[in-house]
């Protein structure tokens, strides 16, 4: 009996089995009933969706232009941000309040160089 069970299980598990033993087991009505029971049981416990086949990961190929592009984008972002900040520093300071009086400065030439 155990041999009948083993050979039918091996058939269902896709394992190696002896064809003569399987023929002998299936010639027995109890063996055929066991086959039907095991097949039904396995159908019940198997997941509805088949497990997807795992594909071996393939190493990504090096693409030098991507590194160069990323570095260029970084430089552009930093440089653009600096220039934008510099421009904003000049133009967006707090507004000067209106003057209460206006005078004109007098040009002169310093003696002894610039201090």
């Amino acid at each position: 009996m155990s041999t009948t069970h083993e050979v039918i299980s091996a058939l269902l598990d896709d394992q190696p089995f002896d064809a003569e033993e399987l023929t002998e087991s299936l010639s027995d009505p109890a063996g055929r009933a066991l086959l039907i029971d095991l097949a039904t049981l396995r159908r019940i416990v198997q997941p509805v969706d088949a497990v997807p086949t795992m594909r071996a990961a393939t190493p990504a190929r090096q693409r030098p232009w991507r590194i160069v592009a990323a570095a260029a984008a970084l430089v552009l972002a930093l440089g653009g941000g600096y220039l934008a900040g510099e421009r904003r520093a000049v133009t967006t300071s707090p507004e000067a309040p209106p003057p209460t009086r206006v005078v004109e400065a007098v040009p002169f030439v310093p003696t002894g160089g610039m201090r």
């Binding site: 000049v90 300071s93 707090p94 000067a96 209106p98 400065a105 007098v106």
Partner: protein
Amino acid sequence: MKRIPYVLSGLLLAARIAGAQTVDEVRISVAGFELSANGAEKPAGISWETGPLAVGKPGVAVFSMRGCGYFTAARPPNTFEENATAGWRVEITPLRWVRALDKGDGLSPTSEDIEVTLRPGESRPLDSVPVPAGAKTFDSHPCATKAVSLRVSADFPDFDRRLIGADVWLVEKLPNGKEQSQLQSLRGLPHRPMHFYFDSLPDGTARFDIFGKLLTDLQGDGIEISVETVRARTDPSQDPDGYHSANWFRSTLHMKPNEIVDVALPARDEPGLVNRLFSIRIRAKQIR
């Protein structure tokens, strides 16, 4: 800014001696200097200051020099140090000095009664004597000081609790009538320069820097401000660290509390900044 000559003269002050009066905030000081072997002169670490200058109220100090140009100062009735090789008696005001002690080769003149006009920041040498040959330092090393001197100077006090705050804007009047400005907030002592430096202004390939300084003087409930502004042109492609040309402007303002004064910088016939109008706008107050 108002520049007051401080005349230290026996003759000039004689007429005022009956009613001694304080002259502004200037201090007169006499300090010792040492001339090192390499020719550089540096303070010897001793000075005597008059405090608020009271014209006609003379003060006297006694200076001694010993060893390797080491100075000491004392007030009468103290006299010269015992081991001094040279000694001076200095009187302010009027300004008189006499080298009453000289154990070396005395050089003339050995005394002076001086009429001198000093503005704040200016000084004048009084006397100089060589350090005796063979003089040693405190730790018996050869002396590197060749000579010592006394110098009188006029200046505002270094320690002044009064503090001035000033907001300074660089304002550009745009063709559409609006204004574009940069702000610098400054703090400083009266009579001491408060410097401002605005961001560069691009104009074609050139750049312009506008910078300058304020000098303040508290007067009653107002502030007198001397404004000196420089508009300098640079060409980074030729000299990134220097200026190609510059224009100087100045103005003296008597500002009342809460007043905001616009100091217009006149346009000049110069390349760059054509048709661009700039001014320095100032609001100042005494913080303490």
